[in-house]
């Protein structure tokens, strides 16, 4: 009977082969988690999807934008911002084949794809209790997964932008100006925030919704409503609340303002607004339909054929950028709080 051998005394210490001596509590658990997640992402199916989607984005200028720029280039000598046309020109019949609008549509999906099962996936596999029982802060889990998702998408995005730029420089012989490079960088940064917003939203879903399939579906629905139908919904609400009474500026203004207000909560519109202003310093309404108030203002205020400098463009869309950042932070904080308050057990 083992019970009779009960010892309440300290057992003799184990052999001093101490692998654990002087081991501090790891400082950055999120880095270990991010590294592991990144490794997982790179060999995952969704990474293939990411490569294919953004690869498509890279391919479009080869077929559409390049031709147009070629025909445009001779008469455009001395014109500024030709380089950016690589990202904003395309087949006018298929606007989604333009690099910038394509990214605007695809970025949310990518963000969701890399986070919709972040927490509930661990829960389903039964690895979450084991993970949080390690000496890390609980938010390390969220942070690490967010960083890994953002990193993997941005790496591919930057690679694609570099590819398109290289193609433009080598094959078409157009060299970007400093201003254009800055605009591209600003665009990538804003895109990073936008992807981050959807990543954070996906994380929130993965914390709150217990089943990965459900959270994917909800995320997809949100993308459909906010990105595909965003502008339509803003129009609809504005029209219902404050119908047009006449055609003068004074009469149209209330509705426009309301529409602007609603739009400022719609991430898709915010992002395309910023993109259009950042990548179209010349903003000729004939190049693209003014899809937003910000663009319309820029278009209305411009003296024909002048080009805004980047700081002017940034100034113009600063509120939108701040709104995007605020939405991202909001989503992330919501995911964070929900996760911190959640019980670990299934």
């Amino acid at each position: 009977m083992t019970a009779s051998t009960a010892t309440a005394e300290p057992a003799p210490a184990a052999e001093p082969v101490d692998l654990y001596e002087d081991r501090p509590i790891p400082k950055a658990g999120w880095r270990v988690i991010a590294a592991k997640e990144l490794g997982d992402h790179v060999i995952s199916v969704r990474f293939m999807v990411l490569l294919i989607l953004l690869g498509l984005a890279a391919a479009t200028p080869l077929y559409f934008a390049a031709d147009q720029i070629k025909t445009l280039a001779p008469q455009a000598t001395g014109q500024q911002a030709v380089f950016l046309a690589l990202f904003t020109l395309g087949d006018t019949n298929y606007t989604f084949l333009i690099v910038s609008s394509f990214v605007a549509i695809v970025a949310p999906l990518l963000g969701l794809a890399f986070s919709f099962d972040a927490i509930n996936g661990e829960r389903a596999e039964g690895t979450l209790p084991r993970l949080v029982a390690q000496p890390i802060y609980r938010d390390d889990v969220i942070n690490g997964k967010f960083v890994a998702g953002l990193a993997v998408i941005l790496i591919v995005l930057v690679a694609v932008v570099g590819l398109i730029s290289g193609f433009g420089i080598l094959r078409l012989g157009i060299v970007p100006s400093t201003d254009e490079i800055l605009r591209l960088i600003a665009w990538i940064l804003v895109t990073a925030v936008y992807v981050g917003l959807w990543l954070a939203f996906g994380l929130l879903l993965s914390v709150v919704v217990r089943r990965a399939a459900t959270s994917a579906l909800i995320g997809f629905g949100a993308w459909f409503v906010l990105v595909i139908f965003g502008g339509f919904i803003a129009d609809l609400i504005a029209n219902t609340i404050s119908p047009l009474t006449g055609s003068t500026i004074e009469e149209a203004l209330p509705q426009a303002q309301l529409q602007k207000l609603i739009t400022s909560f719609l991430p898709g519109n915010l992002y395309s607004d910023v993109t259009n202003v950042l990548l179209n310093p010349r903003l000729n309404p004939s190049v693209q339909l003014p899809g937003s108030i910000g663009q319309a203002i820029q278009g209305a205020q411009q003296i024909p054929n002048t080009v805004l400098s980047i700081d002017q463009s940034l100034l113009l869309v600063w509120p939108e950028i701040v709104a995007l950042i605020a939405l991202t932070v909001l989503c992330f904080v919501a995911a964070y709080i929900a996760f911190m308050r959640q019980e670990v057990r299934a």
Partner: protein
């Protein structure tokens, strides 16, 4: 009814220990409430270095909740806990660095190998690369998974996963292991292996183990001390003998094998056995077997009775074939403890 009355769990003290030995787990009035439901009700617990402590209770009795509070993964509503002398609510990372935890229904990343899964845990615990590899090899050897270490975990059987789970809890070099239902859903042979492993670990590494289970026999076979849990309360804790004293019916049983077939002989044997001092009752086998049950009262007279039975049976030529004490089964103790705690509660 025994003279020992059910004492409310709160006034109980663990087995006598020298004062200097600091418990690895100590709780006082630890309570966890979910809304109206009290999952853990003012728990007083002490687990000492070098012992295996078994938390015994039905599913939903509050075992897992208790464990989560000890790891700082769930905040107590009231009371306090010290694990390795640290409060898990305030220093969860330091506690989790020193405590290996095997969760109930442990899971692994199926597309990674066992070794990779352990490596991840080692990295999260801040082990340097070389130290991590050495530690991983060592724990894999200990749980007997060295051969399969580089296969993907999704190809593992349930028992292998469980053993990998123990390796995972060990890889950080813990001073305390907390195992939640370590033997659930494992075949009997696997259970024996795991229990042997646990005993060896305590012996080799000198660590303490807190394990929870709803399987009485396992707890009985491996634990030094046992705490019986019922709807959030610890209704008794101590060694099996102590629990038997408190919750037994005040008798002990000796099984005596007598190779007798003649009814007259059987009657004679009965009379002889009944004459031995301390024997309360003798039950002859009714199934044609040879296992007699000799009921002894008080229970501590049991050893003396056994000697007497041996001497008498040889002297009287009763054909003695076996003689062994029947250990009070935890099953009975558990049932009595639950019954009494229910009575105590309905009175209060």
């Amino acid at each position: 009814m025994s003279a020992v009355e059910a004492v409310p769990a709160a006034t109980q003290r663990p087995a006598p220990v020298e004062e200097e030995v600091e418990p690895v787990i100590w709780t006082s009035g630890l309570t966890k409430q979910y809304g109206d439901l009290t999952a853990v009700d003012s728990l007083d617990l002490a687990v000492y270095p070098g012992e295996i402590f078994g938390l015994l209770g039905a599913n939903g009795a509050g075992k897992t909740t208790t464990i989560l509070m000890l790891l700082g993964l769930s905040e107590p509503t009231d009371g306090e806990a010290l694990v390795m002398g640290l409060d898990p609510a305030f220093e969860p990372r330091e506690v989790k660095r020193r405590v290996g935890y095997l969760p109930d229904a442990v899971g692994f990343y199926g597309n990674m190998s066992g070794r990779q899964n352990l490596r991840y845990t080692a990295r999260l615990n801040g082990l340097r690369r070389q130290a991590a590899e050495t530690a991983i090899d060592e724990v894999l050897e200990q749980v007997g998974l060295t051969d399969r270490a580089d296969d993907e975990v999704q190809t593992y059987s349930r028992g292998m996963r469980q053993r990998l789970g123990i390796a995972d809890a060990l890889v950080k070099g813990p001073d305390l292991l907390i195992l939640d239902e370590p033997t659930t859903a494992i075949d009997p042979l696997g259970v024996v292996e795991i229990l042997d492993l646990l005993r060896a670990l305590v012996h080799e590494r000198g660590l303490a183990i807190l394990l929870s289970s709803h399987l009485l026999t396992q707890v009985q076979s491996v634990c030094d001390r046992i705490g019986i849990f019922a709807s959030g309360r610890l209704v008794g804790q101590g060694t099996l003998e102590e629990l038997a004293d408190r919750f037994g019916d005040g008798t002990a049983v000796v099984e005596v094998g007598l190779d007798l077939t003649d009814p007259a002989e059987i009657e004679r044997a009965k009379g002889i056995l009944l004459r031995i001092k301390g024997v309360r009752k003798v039950v002859a086998p009714t199934d044609g077997g040879d296992a007699w049950r000799v009921i002894v009262q008080p229970p501590d007279a049991e050893a003396g009775v056994r000697q007497q039975v041996l001497a008498t049976a040889v002297a009287e030529n009763l054909g003695l074939t076996a003689l062994r004490p029947i250990v009070p089964s935890l099953d009975d103790i558990y049932r009595t403890a639950l019954k009494r705690s229910a009575v105590v509660r309905s009175k209060s």
